[in-house]
């Protein structure tokens, strides 16, 4: 029997029982579509996180007070910090040749008001270097001026959303706002950049670090952002930071330096694992589809007992019957997979429309894997019914009507 005749015969057989065929195709397409959609979501999440981290700036190192053995993630939330980071610590880091820029950061929350409107927002105390390190851009005016960081000027820059809420469409440049119990002059408005690391840059006020420290009556820093000279200089910069701070902190290693690369690679690994496990979970639906195929094919074998007997009587060996039934389940799986691809295409399209900022992407390997696994499922679960058909006793099969 020729291969094209096997395929044609099997297709005719699937068309002969439309309800059964539709059910199997539906099950298979849902399985394939869910595998593709879920991996696309996982892959999208991975890209989203990677993008967020990259938007922090390039060649970035983050210095946190306190010692921690981890190489990424949150700063230690509990446990004492032996020695706080100070502005002087931050400024001393500029000594290293591997370090290009240093931005000390102090964070607090305070009410910001202009005329009768006021809002509680996050106040970010830093220096002019933050602008380059964080890769910010201005919508209006300029960033906080450079100059002696230990002497804070009474100026501030605000995020675009805060500006809109306080000033509406008026220009805030040159206006005096009240932050806590001090007055600051607005010199600029940040451009829209979106979120980064959970801090919405549209909703902050950036003030000179010394002014912010005075405002919150503290001399400590939340963290220090350090930009290395180049990607290759990152390990050297890390070493230099540890050395300088140890020297300043009487030989104690009481800080944690986190590099952006380390965080990126950790998140990359986490999300790749996540994608794979969701794909595995979706794979269960493929297995369910496989079991459905097996059941339906078993029913088909008993429905078509006389047909099988007849095929044997007119000269089809058991091997041939096996091939015919396997071809049938393979064809059903492939058609199901094709519909699954279409379904997944519309699904990702709809998700991309609904969440435009989420970079949903279907990894190419997921397409191949979904189709391959569905074909394999069809064949594996098709073996049992096909074998049953092949072993059928023709004399008995033909004795009924």
């Amino acid at each position: 029997m020729k291969t094209e005749d096997v395929i044609q015969f099997s297709i005719r057989a699937t068309l002969g029982y439309p309800t059964r065929t539709l059910l199997m195709i539906l099950a298979m397409s849902i399985g394939v579509a869910s595998v593709i959609l879920l991996t696309a979501l996982g892959e999208g999440a991975r890209r989203y996180v990677t993008r967020e981290f990259s938007s922090l700036g390039t060649n970035l190192l983050i210095v946190l007070p306190g010692r921690s053995e981890t190489t990424g993630g949150h700063p230690p939330l509990v446990g004492g910090t032996p020695r706080d980071l100070t502005l002087e610590d931050a400024l001393s880091l500029t000594r290293s040749s591997a370090i290009r820029r240093v931005a000390p950061i102090t964070v607090g929350s305070a009410p910001v008001s202009w005329k009768y409107r006021d809002r509680e927002v996050t106040i970010l105390g830093s220096t002019s270097e933050l602008f380059e390190i964080r890769d910010l851009s201005m919508a209006q005016g300029r960033f906080i001026p450079s100059g002696d960081p230990t002497r804070g000027a009474a100026v501030c820059v605000m995020g675009y959303r805060l500006k809109k809420e306080l000033f509406g469409n008026q220009s805030p440049l040159g206006e005096w706002t009240r932050i806590g119990d001090r007055r600051f002059r607005v010199v600029g408005v940040l451009a829209k950049k979106g979120q980064s690391l959970g801090l919405d840059m549209g909703d902050v006020v950036v003030a000179p670090v010394a002014s912010a420290q005075a405002l919150f009556n503290t001399s400590t820093l939340f963290r220090i952002l350090v930009q290395a000279n180049s990607r290759d200089a990152i390990p050297k910069a890390k070493k230099a930071i540890l050395g300088i701070i140890r020297e300043r902190h009487e030989g104690e290693d009481d800080i944690t330096v986190v590099t952006q690369d380390a965080m990126l690679s950790i998140f990359d690994r986490i999300f790749t694992a996540l994608t794979l496990s969701v794909a595995g979970i979706a794979g269960i639906s493929l297995a369910v589809a496989g079991i459905l195929i097996m059941n339906v094919m078993l029913i088909a074998v008993s429905q078509r007992t006389t047909e099988i007997g007849l095929l044997k009587a007119i000269g089809a060996p058991g091997r041939q019957i096996l091939r015919l039934f396997l071809a049938e389940s393979a064809i059903l799986s492939l058609i199901g997979a094709a519909f699954g691809l279409i379904l997944a295409f519309f699904g990702t399209w709809a998700l991309a429309r609904a969440f435009p900022s989420f970079p949903i992407t279907v990894p190419v390997w997921a397409l191949g894997a979904a189709v391959g696994v569905s074909l394999l499922t069809g064949l594996v679960f098709g073996v049992l019914p096909a074998r049953r058909a092949a072993k059928l006793d023709p004399a008995q099969a033909l004795s009924r009507r």
Binding site: M1, R12, E307, L310, G315, A316, G318, Q320, A395
Partner: protein, 225 residues
Amino acid sequence: MIHLVGIKRVFQVGDEAVHALSNVNMTVDAGEYIAIMGPSGSGKSTLLNIIGLLDRPDKGVYRLEDMDTTDLTDDQQASVRRHKIGFVFQFFHLVPRLTAAENVELPLILAGVEPAERRSRVQAALSALGLSGRAKHRPDQLSGGQRQRVAIARATIMQPRVILADEPTGNLDRTSGKNVVQSLEDLNRKGMTLILVTHDPDLGSRASRKVVMMDGRISEDTGAS
């Protein structure tokens, strides 16, 4: 052409062993027209199935054209059925989703014949049985007699040496039954060996040789030499 020596076939029904055939000996020459008769359960159909290689005897030797069939593999048996034997059944056993022409074409497809040759052979076979106008009809659009003639076309499309017909008229009214029998007898006149199993004494008496079975044995054989 067909030599059966000491054929025995036992079916296990529950705890009981049913002797469908016990020690059957029979020789059939090429071109014969044989009617196998006998009451239900006498072993007629089992005998036909063994001749058609659909069933294997538990004991005995079956030689078809000087070839011992008892130790053929499944593939070899299928090949013998494909090329040398044509079956006609009481319930036609046409594939319901295929047209008359496609049903007739099936043995050619299984044998791997080229599509162009298949088409012309199917057409010739259908017109020989007066079914040219029905080629595109599915079995449920045909009458019983037409269905059986489609089945005969399918059984003869490979030019087999033997036609085995199990109650070919059992499910037909008298007129279409007569038509079907005439079609089969035409084939016999062209040299095909025809063996049919029947209950119908009229039909049995038309055959040139009559074999009567009783309790798994041949009780009467008008052609036994």
